[in-house]
């Protein structure tokens, strides 16, 4: 499963770099500027990210917290 995910990710990255970046004018950014296109977590996800970091061994690289707070229970 891990190998499959790694292969899919590698293929996706290759696909992205194969196509060169295009310079967009402001009026061409209507889709990119859509609020659903924001490259971050949704505000409503905040507490989901907290419980995942407490129940799982891994955390970080998701613009969330990397420390602080107990989550002991």
């Amino acid at each position: 499963m891990t190998k499959l995910i790694a292969k899919i990710t590698a293929g996706f990255l290759l696909m992205i770099f194969a196509c060169s970046c295009v310079h967009l004018k402001e009026y061409q950014k209507n889709r990119i500027n859509d609020s659903e296109m924001a490259l971050g977590n949704r505000k409503v996800e905040k507490n989901e990210l907290n419980f995942q970091s407490y129940r799982e061994g891994a955390s970080g690289a998701n613009a969330g917290k990397t420390g602080g707070g107990c989550g002991c229970n």
């Binding site: 970046c21 659903e36 490259l39 419980f51 891994a58 955390s59 690289a61 420390g67 602080g68 107990c70």
Partner: protein, 439 residues
């Protein structure tokens, strides 16, 4: 009377002329024609920006989380993991422009959680400990954005307080945009200085009463609280001792617009933790049947690397994807993959089903109930460090009409999201969240 009329007309003309004294000249160097009528409003307003302090945005997020399972770390990897948690957070963003028209944003946040935990009762061997607790966590962040190039710089502070755990954090962050503003590099340096209260299982620290030669009596309860009695009359109650746990992290990100439909982001964190990284009330049962509390190394390095890609497919569908690889020096390696498909029913209403897959290998120090060898240097039966995989799926709804949600002008955004989470360790949980955005 004529003089009065002439004076009024003259005064009006002077006022009109002075109103144009600072009007920009056009390319030919000519000022707009003077008129006795109202000046051209478009010329007057063109460069005006409200610099005053104002409320930019208010966000409120509330979640209810409930969980079941049978591998509680408090009882050594067996026993109920039943937990409920209500989490509420309010974030107020204030904004103003300085003299250089750079935007300053001050975010003031306040969070409050209340939880109940079945296993918490068994900190006491008899199951008599209280099962509920509260956490309060205020935060503040100041960010300044350069009006010319869009670069930002900011500072933040954070406090979290609950009965057995105190956390004090601070961060410094900045971001730099590329010259064409299609890419952005971000850095965040964080430090958390935490204190873990050393509350041990009651059977492992029996209460003691000691009388010193000077007549002072020291009573230590099962949880470690000390009461000092001098001359048999005056009592002084001491605090339960704490141990430090510090976390330092550096977070790096780079985002890039690839074309009008695709943007991507790379993320990487370097995290170092040191201090007391165990929890004192997590029991471990050795293969001999003897019990103790978990013992983990005093240092941990974490390296998570992430990647995001958001793609606008057609006119109504947005694909939001995320992948993370994680490794640390305790032996955990993990993969996380997340996909959310946003379907825009209308420009102001969307439905977003999502799926997240997570898998991890076990930490070197994990073994289940009564599986640890008594000669092990480090040991834990906390299933957070076991080998497992999990599935998390659900759906979110977002509504953001221009006239305000339910016709309320101030409420510009409403999101509701439900998720179901299941590990193959038998831990199952559900979470429902509500987010309200006001402007």
């Amino acid at each position: 009377m004529k003089k009065v009329f002439l004076s009024v007309i003259g005064f009006t003309l002077i006022c009109r002329m002075s109103a144009y004294s600072q009007v920009k000249t056009d390319s030919a160097g000519a000022k707009p024609k003077i008129s006795l009528y109202a000046p051209d409003s478009s010329t007057m307003k063109s460069n005006y920006k409200d610099r005053s302090l104002h409320v930019d945005e208010i966000n409120f997020v509330s979640s209810y989380y409930w969980q079941t399972g049978d591998h509680s770390a408090v009882t050594g990897g067996i026993g109920s993991e039943k937990v409920t948690d209500i989490a509420n957070g309010l974030d107020i963003k204030l904004a103003w422009l300085n003299s250089s028209l750079n935007k300053n944003t001050l975010s003031i946040g306040l969070g409050f959680d209340h939880h109940t935990s079945a296993s918490q009762a068994f900190v006491s061997a008899t199951g008599a400990s209280k099962t509920g607790g509260d956490r309060i966590y205020p935060s503040i962040d100041w960010t300044k954005e350069n009006a010319k190039n869009g670069n930002t710089f900011g500072l933040g502070a954070y406090v979290s307080s609950e009965y057995n755990y105190q956390s004090l954090g601070g961060d410094l962050h900045f971001s730099l945009k590329t010259q064409d503003k299609m890419g952005e590099f971000g850095v965040k340096l964080q430090a958390y200085l935490d204190k873990v209260k050393l509350i041990y299982p009651s059977e492992l620290i029996p209460g003691t009463t000691t009388t010193t030669s000077g007549g002072t009596t020291i009573i230590t309860t099962a949880s470690g609280t000390t009461t000092t009695l001098s001359d048999g009359e005056h009592g002084h109650r001491g605090n339960i001792p704490s141990s430090p746990r510090n976390t330092f992290s550096s977070s790096f990100s780079y985002s890039q617009i690839i074309n009008s439909r695709l943007q991507i982001m790379f993320l990487a964190d370097l995290v170092e933790q040191h201090g007391y990284l165990s929890l004192p009330f997590h029991r471990v049962y050795f293969s001999t049947g003897k019990d103790t509390v978990e013992k983990l190394p005093a240092q941990r390095f974490k390296l998570p690397i992430g990647f995001r890609a958001n793609y606008f497919l057609g006119d109504n569908i947005i694909l939001r994807s995320y992948y993370r690889y994680y490794m640390d020096n305790w032996g955990i390696k993990s993969n996380t993959a997340n996909l959310e498909v946003v379907y825009k029913v209308s420009p102001f209403f969307s439905i977003a089903p999502f799926y997240r897959f997570y898998s991890q290998s076990a930490a070197k120090y994990f073994a289940p109930y009564e599986a640890h060898n008594i000669n092990d240097a480090y040991y834990t039966s906390n299933y957070e460090y076991s080998k497992f995989n999990s599935n998390f799926f659900g759906v979110g709804f977002r509504i953001a009409p221009p006239a305000g949600v339910f016709g309320m002008q101030g409420l510009h955004d409403l999101e509701i999201r439900y998720g179901h989470y299941a590990q193959n360790t038998d831990l199952v949980s559900n979470v429902v969240s509500l987010s309200l955005g006001f402007k």
